[in-house]
Symmetry: C2
Subunit: 740 residues, 2 copies
């Protein structure tokens, strides 16, 4: 690929006909509007003044509270001008315009770069006062240490490295999918481009590598990654730890690669490279390798010291002198610079208006599809969507992973809002539906399996759990509830995905994660595949609704709760093995987190259980009633800690009745952590699992009905006799002798 | 690179002089022993019979209990013969021989492949009866669903995909490092090779991508990855989800790549490719891309159906007929096949004897180094290692991340057992020491930073947390306590590393993880970098010792506990910000998990706190004593849940005194999950954090001394008046209004 070192006309490589920068060459419909004046309309001096102003603002902002990350933001100044002034289609005064270009700063620590660009391009909420709140004590600052999704002009919260590029892949998939579903000849109602800046770190992180690999496979030609190649990380030069040929590697993954050799000052060169992005004939995502210099212009240019600490007063003063600024003044924005950016809001509003006009005509031409499209834009589900869920289920023993399909197959088939994905476990997770279409490039003819299209809603993510969850965040962040992404894998492998699941929760994104093989009962795959501690993480994670349903009826309740929960992710945790249909469970109980399934007025004990093991509690209550002396046990189904905690104290007491002095015993073959809140004793795991077929493993760890009954009777007796100290949670099982 | 399709002499590419397969061309010293007869010494018919027998055994073993993963194991039969018969240096009767070649099955679900090879090559523990225990109800089976480290011939537990190749990188680093440290001309006392088989999945998983990238950077020419390229995963053909050019990608990462086109039957071709592995002139790791056919020989050959389910009785019977076996017989191993493998144990013992002779001479020639080497082989630390830890520390406020350095810098400098690594946070984690040398190829001249060597003990892992932890597992698994690896990054990014941290815990590997920025007090980086729920995972993880020390004195205790804990990982969780040296903490208290730092005979309340916030509890106790009416508070420092749970009930009661009716309040700005076991109420987070400088964030979430004192007084009053129900944990803080 030719290096774009000079300026004056766009690199063509045979594709791009127009030489006007920023002109829309990809989508015929709104090409009349140039999104920007070409560089060159402004003088080179103007551009250089903008770059200097930008870098000095970064320096001053970090100096103000003697904190922050100046280096990358300074190094990327030219990239900012190329994007916000000359390339992106967006509307600062209508920041949530549906068809806006999306921008993701994957190297989120360089957030000042984004804040300054938002300020200069005219986002109303990013006032001067707000801009100066970076690292201040203001809790309402719009300039947190990493960009956050709540704020105008920020598509997703970034910071944990490598995830931003994966989110961007999700945004680009959303566009591809919506375009394939709704666009008609002459009506590209969805046509935006996704731009993502990454640093060296995003190329080292595994999730970033997964994203590169998968985006190349998908041929996402509506995605451009801009690599801020400054070759510096915290520990020093990148070649201390990474010496791969990144261009070759990215090309091998199916990307088109362009080099920009002077990313520091050559705005025109960057724009020229970017102008290839919208080429409709390109069948690959675009990777622009932009050489830059961290902390450029300062005394620590090119050095790791400029990464995560302010430059120092003297250093900034020296820069100001060199740039012809007054070293005694801070936060100086010359009028020329303001003028440079002044046309952007109006330009944006024009884009918005043209899009609205287009959509209006589209609705006239295609009334039914137009109505559906409008519903997607507004994030509406059919109000009667639950009608597709069966009111009852077959009585035979069923794995709850199969119950998922009983509950959701009609909904998944009929409501386009849902995009189902799996990390290569289609046969295990049972989330396919009638005539499902795979999301894949239509030109791809796989050796086996279905030929897909971009209109497909079933996503084969490959064996890439982490990027699956991060892409799902991007799908959900495209626009609220336009797409509700579903991911799926073994529960244990949601540990691989956990950093992205967390980011979804932190951002209040509605993503539904379906986790199968969620108990030691999964059996012979052994301890690597048997969760014992992972639920503790998801039960602790703010905004996450972790739900373990016990049978098909509770699976229905779990899905209702998940679809209704619009402000965060849900994880539905299901069994590999067949479970009895208990007949006494209630889908309406799930949304309360816990509920009584068997009441006993004068109870000796409350048995609490959940998910794949709830049926143990039911059987135990029967057996204990017949013991000599009989033990009267009530039974509580407890599918979700978080949903139960949200209930009133009155409800909680009515379920647990511990305030009446009735002891509670929790039964769950996970470690006990967290159960101490709801119970006095428990039957739990205290070690990893073991490779044994499902029917043997429960017995091996002491979860036979006989043994559990014995332990419970003994505990109830101890409790009555006062042997159990206040607040001393009793673990009723020991790990097997010899088990480590 | 030439494709190795023919057989008869080793591919040379200019390097390999000998044409005898398996002859040691890399290390001069023990080259006299051919490790194997060349293929060809046996007839082609013999080899084919071995392959058929192997595949039918796989079929029968999966059929026996109608479970298991047959396909990959069958497809790799030839690869097994090439490795165990013709290539690897190992000793079945001395399975833990220090200098043995290491073998890792990264696609661990294909475990039958390994078990059969262990059986055929003569591992004593792998009896016929044991071999037939795959997926049986035997809890003492040596044939679990994935290979497990406890068993002879298995180096590491694998199964979670992508991690095995990362473990293998750790094993290869261990060899490189020990060789560079101890080998002398004529005395290659450490010279083993590491072999790792991967499937398609390991190349898709992020951690596998990180491993490929980093191993190439390190130029690990003692590592060979054998890619079982069958292009099938659970969902169907791999090209449904991955279409990258893997050879180009791996080459771009700095590997040498060889293709083998017939991996199903061409044992000779595979051996020819592998013979390049020990070429001492090669400066790259070797990647052998071996085309194979999943489930080969069966009716579902080349299909996903053969991956994770038995082939079916009829299918196996058909195979037997086609192979000339009696379809009515099961588990047939012809005498020729046994004879084929019969020379291996004796050959292995000869290798072991030669190595012992070599080491004996080495000790004579280099008595001091020889003694040190012997200590490393035996995993000994100097008995007086703790003498290097200062008996007291400077009184000024110190971030506990800096206390790490005060405690460990002399030990790290002087005791070679420790290898310290960081995921690009050297300036943050403070684990460098005087004249530390970087582990890097000596030929690498980085743009900035130190030129390293393979004798270096400081590892720049790059921004690759997951592979860091997985490599550390490999370092620890090389041989018990020969290397004690230390990893380091921000606490929050141990969520990226969590799958590998878990695998270290599951395998009882001594790895020490140093997690800094472990509280909301880390400040302005914001919620993406502020842990609130992550401790719940590590507190729940079996075998993991998660420790949050409060000041330098407790940091000393945490390191003592970590170094003394030989059978699992420890995570030492430290603060970014400066903390007071409390003067009342005790390093000896840390190993007990919790201990009283301020006693009060007639106490109204016990304040429990930990780590970065323990000083709050101390201050609160002082202030509450002066309140009107005064509240008498005792204070417990609680650095580790797991260590406290291991104490006697008497000790636990003496620390908590809840059985005396004294209520306990926990103070930790994490979510409450788990604290319910030890306390009646708590001051905790119930949301993610916020981007605010450290000194403001505690107040923002209600952790000002004034507010906490108010809440505690109110709770003590409620508790006394009986308002608090039995077992009802009281959350004393609400999240700030408007905070989501």
């Amino acid at each position: 690929m030719a290096e774009v070192q000079t300026f004056g006309h766009a690199q063509t490589n045979g594709h791009v006909k127009s030489t006007a920068y920023g002109e829309n060459v990809a989508n015929g419909v709104i090409k009349a509007t140039k999104i920007a004046t070409a560089p060159g309309a402004e003088s080179k001096e103007d551009v250089q003044l903008v770059l200097k102003t930008f870098r000095l603002m970064v320096g001053d902002l970090c100096q103000q509270f003697n904190m922050g990350h100046p280096g990358s933001a300074m190094g990327m100044a030219a990239l900012g001008v190329a994007l916000w002034k000359y390339t992106m289609r967006y509307a600062p005064h209508t920041p949530n315009w549906f068809n806006r270009d999306r921008f993701v700063l994957s190297n989120g620590h360089a957030c000042l770069f984004q804040y300054l660009n938002l300020y200069f391009s005219g986002y109303k909420s990013m006032t001067w006062e707000q801009l100066l709140s970076y690292h201040s004590e203001r809790p309402d600052s719009l300039c947190p240490g990493h960009p956050e999704i709540e704020h105008d002009g920020v598509e997703l919260t970034t910071g944990p490295l490598g995830q931003g590029i994966a989110n961007a892949v999700g945004l680009a998939i959303a566009t591809k999918h919506l375009a394939a579903t709704y666009n008609k000849p002459g009506y590209d109602v969805v046509s935006n481009h996704t731009w993502c800046i990454i640093g060296d770190a995003c190329l080292q992180e595994g999730v970033g590598c997964e994203a590169i690999s998968y985006a190349g496979h998908l041929q996402l030609n509506n995605l451009t990654v801009l690599y801020d190649n400054n070759q510096i990380s915290c520990d020093g030069s990148v070649d201390l730890t990474n010496t791969e040929n990144i261009n070759s590697k990215v090309r091998a993954c199916g990307w088109e690669v362009i080099d920009v050799m002077d990313g520091v000052n050559d705005v025109e060169g960057i724009v020229a490279a970017m102008s290839k992005a919208r080429d409709p004939n390109r069948t690959k995502p675009l990777f622009v390798n932009i050489r830059s210099i961290i902390g450029v212009g300062s005394a620590v240019a090119g050095q790791a010291q400029s990464h995560g600490a302010p430059l120092g007063v003297d250093n900034v003063a020296t820069m100001k002198r060199a740039y012809g600024f007054d070293e005694n003044e801070k936060f100086v924005v010359p009028e020329q610079v303001r003028k440079f950016y002044s046309d952007i809001p109006a330009r944006g509003e024009q884009l918005v208006q043209e899009w609205h006009d287009l959509v209006a005509k589209y609705k006239q031409e295609y009334p039914e599809l137009g109505e559906e499209f409008q519903g997607r834009v507004e994030g509406r589900l059919p109000s009667d969507w639950t009608k597709h869920i069966p009111s009852s289920f077959p009585a035979q023993d069923t794995p709850t992973r199969k119950s998922n399909n009983l509950v959701m197959k009609d909904i998944l088939e009929q409501i386009k809002t849902f995009m189902v994905g799996t990390a290569d476990l289609t046969p295990s997770v049972n989330l396919t539906y009638k005539d499902y279409e795979v999301f894949n490039p239509p030109t791809l003819k796989p050796t086996s399996g279905k030929v897909g299209s971009y209109a497909g809603r079933y996503i084969h993510y490959g064996i890439r759990e982490h990027v699956m969850a991060a892409i799902a965040n991007g799908l959900a962040a495209f626009n609220p509830q336009t797409i509700i992404p579903i991911t799926s894998t073994f529960f244990m492998f949601y540990l691989y995905a956990a950093p992205a699941v967390r980011m979804g929760a932190l951002q209040h994104l509605q993503v539904i994660h379906v986790a199968t093989h969620d108990s030691i009962g999964a059996g012979e795959d052994g301890p690597t595949h048997q969760p014992v501690e992972l639920a503790a993480l998801y039960r602790a994670m703010p905004n996450m609704h972790y739900i373990r349903p016990a049978d098909s009826e509770e699976v229905a309740g779990a899905w209702e709760a998940a679809v209704n929960y619009k402000t965060g992710p849900t994880m539905i945790s299901v069994s590999r093995h067949a479970l009895p249909q208990l007949g006494i469970t209630k889908r309406s109980g799930v949304s309360k987190g816990a509920y009584v399934i068997k009441e006993e007025e004068k109870a000796d004990v409350t048995l609490i259980s959940v998910g794949a093991e709830l049926h143990f509690a039911v059987k135990l209550a029967e057996d204990l009633a017949k013991a000599d002396p009989p033990v009267k046990a009530r039974v509580v189904s407890f599918p979700s800690f978080v949903l139960f905690k949200e209930q009133s104290k009155e409800y909680q007491r009515s379920v647990l009745r511990r305030h009446e002095g009735i002891p509670a015993v929790a039964i769950e073959p996970y470690v006990s952590l967290g159960w101490e809140r709801f119970a006095d004793a428990g039957l739990h795991m205290s070690s990893y699992g073991h490779s044994l077929p499902g029917k043997y493993i429960y017995n091996y760890f002491g979860f036979s009905i006989e043994n559990m009954a014995l332990k419970i009777r003994s505990f109830v007796s101890d409790f009555k006799s006062g042997v159990v100290g206040r607040g001393e949670y009793v673990e009723l099982l020991q790990k097997p002798a010899g088990h480590s």
